[in-house]
Symmetry: D2
Subunit: 135 residues, 4 copies
Amino acid sequence: MATTTMSMLETYPKSINLDRAKLAAAIDALISCSEACTACADACLSEDMVADLTKCIRTNLDCADVCGAAARVLSRHTGYDANLSRSLLEACITACRTCADECAQHADMHEHCRICASACRACGQACRELLAAMN
Amino acid sequence: MATTTMSMLETYPKSINLDRAKLAAAIDALISCSEACTACADACLSEDMVADLTKCIRTNLDCADVCGAAARVLSRHTGYDANLSRSLLEACITACRTCADECAQHADMHEHCRICASACRACGQACRELLAAMN
Amino acid sequence: MATTTMSMLETYPKSINLDRAKLAAAIDALISCSEACTACADACLSEDMVADLTKCIRTNLDCADVCGAAARVLSRHTGYDANLSRSLLEACITACRTCADECAQHADMHEHCRICASACRACGQACRELLAAMN
Amino acid sequence: MATTTMSMLETYPKSINLDRAKLAAAIDALISCSEACTACADACLSEDMVADLTKCIRTNLDCADVCGAAARVLSRHTGYDANLSRSLLEACITACRTCADECAQHADMHEHCRICASACRACGQACRELLAAMN
């Protein structure tokens, strides 16, 4: 999929006080992670051993919600205030680490957990890089 | 509106390691704040002086997204992990303070900003009380 | 919980071409239903018999997403276009009927499913009444 | 951005009664459209002529919410019920057409509106193709 994230950043009419490449990478990673987590929660729900995957499902749902909200906030630049972006990136880093660790425990048995853990790790890394560039 | 938030907490089949009254108050305040912010963004958009309210609209949209995501996460108790709840409550407190301060600047001219500022302050307070009870 | 839904409708600066009482009732019912469904999905996830509740969880998650999105759309009045409101109300009526029927099958065993079914039926009814008033 | 949408569909443990290529295309188009609309709303908000773009902003916000919710619902396959998917695809088609038409009116002056109109048209098309394959 080719998202329009970078094109939209480039056509924003005022200045953006952030590294655009890192910002676009974080937004795209958040969107991709949110989608992977939504799908992984549902795939876990359809596994015969669903009773062993309830914590994984919950963690997936949380990570999808937090990363989805963060992608929206980071896509806005009007009246920018760094405090909320920082605080939300911290929450995403926590959600992604928790979800990656949980999914990784089932990665040998469930390919969807392996893919989702990888999307969470990539997202956490992109959030950390953006956060580092903001300070 | 009578939400079912407390009834749902009371019928959750396992234990909840949080003060249920404070948890229900926070969830309801987050939901109410998210709705007020969504409506305030749209009301600002319809004001003749919209050009002076663009930061307010952006702040409203952010606060609606963050509080909406937090209400969902706090409504889940399966495989509870305090770290994400804490981190997300911090983000909500930041979003609510920023939005309340911004809306308060327009409260004399726009009644919707006055109501929204009040919903944000109430939500920030409910989040701080839950966070204090978690530590 | 006292939402500010009606107060926000009353302070919207331009005219609203809809019955405000029915509109506020629908928005509040959608918000309450979305919250009940999010909590019911999690409560089902923590039941020992979760393997028998996977369809219920999925239906809950869908209903929460659709009703949450509809509450936001109906809270906006700027540049109003009836077509999307109608189409989205139809989707909510479908989601609420499906979720109410599914939860009702477990209402004898799980009190959270009984409460959630009731919230879904109330929401479906509020959506039908608003839709009827729009035509 | 490489989403994991198709990989997640391929690792879902049960059968999916839909054309997987069309389903993945629709999910990715919905996600991309939702992101473009969120960014376009904010870019419009920062234009000097924001007062002439209020309907565009509102339409963008609606389209972002509806397409975001639909992407989540279509990413779930457990206990599949075609009725909600159909109803939601219809709502997305309406939202995308309205938003594309509105953005197209500003495409000559605002490059972000041109890109967003294009994302909305592509999404509407992907939704129509999936809907046609479902009937």
